[in-house]
Amino acid sequence: MNKKIGFTCAYTPVPLIEAAGFSPFRIFPESKAPDQAGHLLHDNLCPHVKKVLDRALADDLPELEGMVFINSCDSMRRLADAWHEAKPDDPIILLDLPSGINSLSLDFLSKEYERLAKTLFKWNNEPFSTEKIKDEIAKWNLLAASVKKIEGIMSRNYFPGIASGLQEIINTAATDSTDKALVMAQNKIEPEKPAKGGQSPVFVFGNLLFDPKVYDLFEEWNMHVTASDFCTTSRFVTQVDTKADDNIFRSMAISYMEQTPCARTMDTTKPGNIAQKIVQRAKESNAKGVIVFTLKFCDPYLARIPMIRQALQKESIPFLMLEGDCTMGSMGQQQTRIEAFTEMLGV
């Protein structure tokens, strides 16, 4: 089995990890580890970040050869600092991720991705190889295309179990290997169960929602997830447009920055554009309503919710906001609200 590299953010390009001969291991904030992060980070801080740190402090992780952090938001940046404090011997790389999308930021990010690639090859004592990176990107793109196909099927009809199945595929890519995820995806393209009616079509988005069981619960609660936009779902499996630039790292920078972005990334030529994108995704996926799952204390998302709410209201699309830690643990508390919402939407 390959040695593992830990990471926490969807802007981490998995093909670079695999090209360097490592397996990816995305650290999800799911653990029975005791709450200890408060020793190093403030209590009013992102629960995702704190739970990831709890896992590190409790050694609730497989053996990792190194950690990749992305300066995507203040909390992630501080996680890198806290990790260094908690595990000072771990090799760590922290990438600076620009907030805006323009030529200068793409140039800068491409250099950051190149720095990441070179560091990973060095950590594994492997000679740096652009060819290997391109090969891994090709596989990753096949996976991204399969994920997209499954999402297309999801948006057209309600097939029980397809949403949780898709999540299992994505989690495999995040915590094991692209190869395995690809095999799973190719087997899932044809739904196992026939299409059914009677569920309320809903577009869900937010920070992260990684537990496949959550999607099964949604179905029990009368919801048909037509599409999702989380950093643990399609936003994670980014198709890398290799033709975007001659430089492979710039192609990656363009693809990662221009995909449906996390709330922390903005198109400064269209302030508040995230709201329009959410409306567009909801409409494209034939959803009748939208639910957002945000992490408590997540400034980038919480500050954009009023704009999103306003844009959805303008289109008469019902909207439900749920705040928590985005794990199964908090989901039970949301059941009544979700059921009431889907009942209101009807079928």
């Binding site: 806290a82 620009p98 907030s99 250099k111 508040g272 400034d299 500050a303 704009m307």
Partner: protein, 348 residues
Amino acid sequence: MMYDHFDNAVKGITDKLNQDPEGINARKKYVLELSKLGKKLYSKDENIAWCGVTAPFDLLGSMDVTSCFVEFVGALLSSTQTAGYFFEEAEDSGFATDSCAYHRAVMGAVLKNAMPEPDFIIGTSSPCTAGLAILENFAHQYKKDFFLLNVPQNYTQDAIKYLSSQLEEMVRFVSDHTKRPLSKQKLGIALENFNTSSTLLKEIYDLTKTKPSPVDNNILKDFGTVITLLMGSQEGIDICQAFKDELNHRIKTRRHHDSKEKIRLMWIQNRIQYPFPINEMLEDLGAVIVVDELNDVTWEPMDPDNPFESIAKRMISIPFSMNASERIKHLQDLACAYRIDGAINPCH
């Protein structure tokens, strides 16, 4: 409402200063200049830019743009006890109750039309993602153009080049809006003024290191953060000079010995803005806040022949822009230099 507030402040402080033209009152002069800035922001006949905290105010000033970070207004609303009214407005519109109070207050003020409409907005990724998110909301709400300065946290050649290129882009963006090109002469003067102010700041901070310190708990409150709004101008130099003179005067007249300083404290990040008698409480205990975290000069002098790189280096060098170990190292250096007995870290 806000224009009247600043106008009254300008009149009131000017009257007081005129009554005692030889008086030693640096803080009054400082508040007067800030009130004049506030008045300009609300006067409707200036080119206005709402900005992030680490924006290059000297560069913007040299382009005849009246600029300010939004948290300045948040602090003002808090200190005048009007923030509650604006919190309600922001929260009713969906802004989370546990989000930053500075930003909720100013967002409420935007929604209540209590903030002057800017000509454009300059966001900065440092010091916080919340500040950037609020400025995007400003741009969305006012339908104004938005320029974003990404401040990298690593002090590398690539990072400096990236930020200095962004500053050049920003100049083009500003010129497109004001229809005025950057005058190299004006920028040169602004940077010279900035350097003169920086030298004075270093002298001020050296004076405050004296034991007992000539400062009281109020005189240099949040000084390092807010003086950046004036640096680059003659007014900034005059204010720094006034503070230096006042501290020298205190030392000369041994007034600082009256403080009965028993405990020397450092204040981490910025002070409490709402009315709360912490300064007096500390004073009763013989505790003096001798240094605020951002009361320091962390940058090299600006090079008028290489302005953008100089400014970029300065922006990255601010402790909030760097990683935690750099910030902690900075705090440790201050702790040693000021011979402090303890530190206060508030959370707003």
